[in-house]
Assembly symmetry: C2
Amino acid sequence: MAPSELNCTHQNQHSSGYDGPRSRVTVVGSGNWGSVAAKLIATNTLKLPSFHDEVRMWVFEETLPSGEKLTDVINQTNENVKYLPGIKLGRNVVADPDLENAVKDANMLVFVTPHQFMEGICKRLEGKIQEGAQALSLIKGMEVKMEGPCMISSLISDLLGINCCVLMGANIANEIAVEKFSEATVGFRENRDIAEKWVQLFSTPYFMVSAVEDVEGVELCGTLKNIVAIAAGFVDGLEMGNNTKAAIMRIGLREMKAFSKLLFPSVKDTTFFESCGVADLITTCLGGRNRKVAEAFAKNGGKRSFDDLEAEMLRGQKLQGVSTAKEVYEVLGHRGWLELFPLFSTVHEISTGRLPPSAIVEYSEQKTIFSW
Amino acid sequence: MAPSELNCTHQNQHSSGYDGPRSRVTVVGSGNWGSVAAKLIATNTLKLPSFHDEVRMWVFEETLPSGEKLTDVINQTNENVKYLPGIKLGRNVVADPDLENAVKDANMLVFVTPHQFMEGICKRLEGKIQEGAQALSLIKGMEVKMEGPCMISSLISDLLGINCCVLMGANIANEIAVEKFSEATVGFRENRDIAEKWVQLFSTPYFMVSAVEDVEGVELCGTLKNIVAIAAGFVDGLEMGNNTKAAIMRIGLREMKAFSKLLFPSVKDTTFFESCGVADLITTCLGGRNRKVAEAFAKNGGKRSFDDLEAEMLRGQKLQGVSTAKEVYEVLGHRGWLELFPLFSTVHEISTGRLPPSAIVEYSEQKTIFSW
Ligand SMILES: O=C(CO)COP(=O)(O)O
């Protein structure tokens, strides 16, 4: 059965008498977080009369060890057996291996793929999407380049010519999949009505979403917090205790805020109090892979490289924090800001072996230069 | 040997040629945190020419099991064997059991006693302290009364007729005693020069202190964070994971900020990014006694009372968080603000058995009403 022939059994069951235009949602991506996002959205499109029930999910097609196609299995079992096993996505989620087909009727597009695929996907979608469509990026791994960060939301906006909001927060996908209480932040540019629509589409009693008019601030939080998680991991590896870890996390939050505001003066202080800010920082510094590998690095006194530990501990996955620290270090050096950001720069110098892990707490001679 | 006869061997050894008036410091209190404070101060008075070397520490006299007096043992061994065993305080710390004698020559008074003793101590000191003396309160457990919170710094200011700053932060005393990196925040009212003098007196390479003009904000952070630590403990006891814990901590921080600003409109947003704010919150929600007992409470499904668990787990020490939650609840009820603070009020309702521990994450129908 081709996905386009699937009947969505819940269609037209809304009893609210709503007769305005209905929005159609497509999720571009179907990994761990993409599948959870589809599940959250699918609960709400069934309830909210202003949305079509069906949620289409573009799946990068794979053949499973059984010989079956991943999309077929998702559509038959209603589970993403590969990336979110054991969780029902909702009968109204339809997996579709054809990118163009998946997006053609949608006016709300949710992007949630590994960030290195986004440019290619956008290029394939140019001219193929509905006029006036709205985008939302859930992608945390943007890159920081010398001339400034390469924001995924800007990439989407620029290449597709559409408005793009972001959704970030303390969101460990597997915990949300089992409906543990969590929060998220939507960042938007100007149009609050659109942002509120995204909030509506994701909110459930266990997933609380709020919107802030600060797309860059929200998106930068998601990336920069990984540098702080490396620092927190060093503190854990050195067994310095909770006071020290809390201090390092606070200094890290301050540098996240200062760096974001230097790059984008429009970034708001209050964004850092949102889920995308302090909460995502906390969850990443408590759990998280960046923290874990950095802890092992410090325990080994910096004698085994990050590449080595990564290969051993993460089986091929790459850490964001170490490369983000490198990218940020280049920006800082280029702009003459290194002394303003002792924590960010020290993380890079430790991870490249230029300083020992204990340097993470040696701020004795340094005083904060910027105020906030 | 009476403490007043002790010679401070370092007196007059400064070689800087400083000949202005020297400040004399007395620490009122000698518990765990008081002893660490005396140690920090004593390192600095030796180095800084504008201070007399000697740091007097008022000790509530006790007779030890050996039959010796606590003050005598401190002066002989240079250790507070009862509250900070194993740590040398510095030869220039002089323990004094006589409160009036301890303060009479000091123009800088550091208060660090259990908060319930402060009113009595201030009354004993009325008219006995130097004119123009300055006070600093390290006391985190202030009281919230119906008509508003009774700030310890105000109590000191009002009863003694002197200016009072506060010092708060992510400060687990035993970690600072062993010189692990930490930070603190001095809160002051108007006079920045005095605040900078306190900063100087406490700062070491492993203890970074900064000053903010917001005495109420700093002091309220220190108290209110204990309510959030109770909530975080519930989440731990329910084994809800890091996402949920991070979300609860963030909502708690938001309520701390909103409550402080409603009570004192002068409170600054930026204070919550200081060590006294987000960092103290983190360390208390990770380590901390409030968290620990609340975790046990939730693990027992609320069936054993806090009083019971406290008695068993803390051997006579009292938790601040449960009583602060009660006091804040009364203020909220009195002012009609209960719905504005779902986390604060739910902590109280859980700890009194009116709601089950799982209620801590049931905010489904509640939307935040205030913005920040
Ligand atoms: O205030 C504290 C750390 O700064 C200690 O918190 P607890 O009282 O919960 O142990």
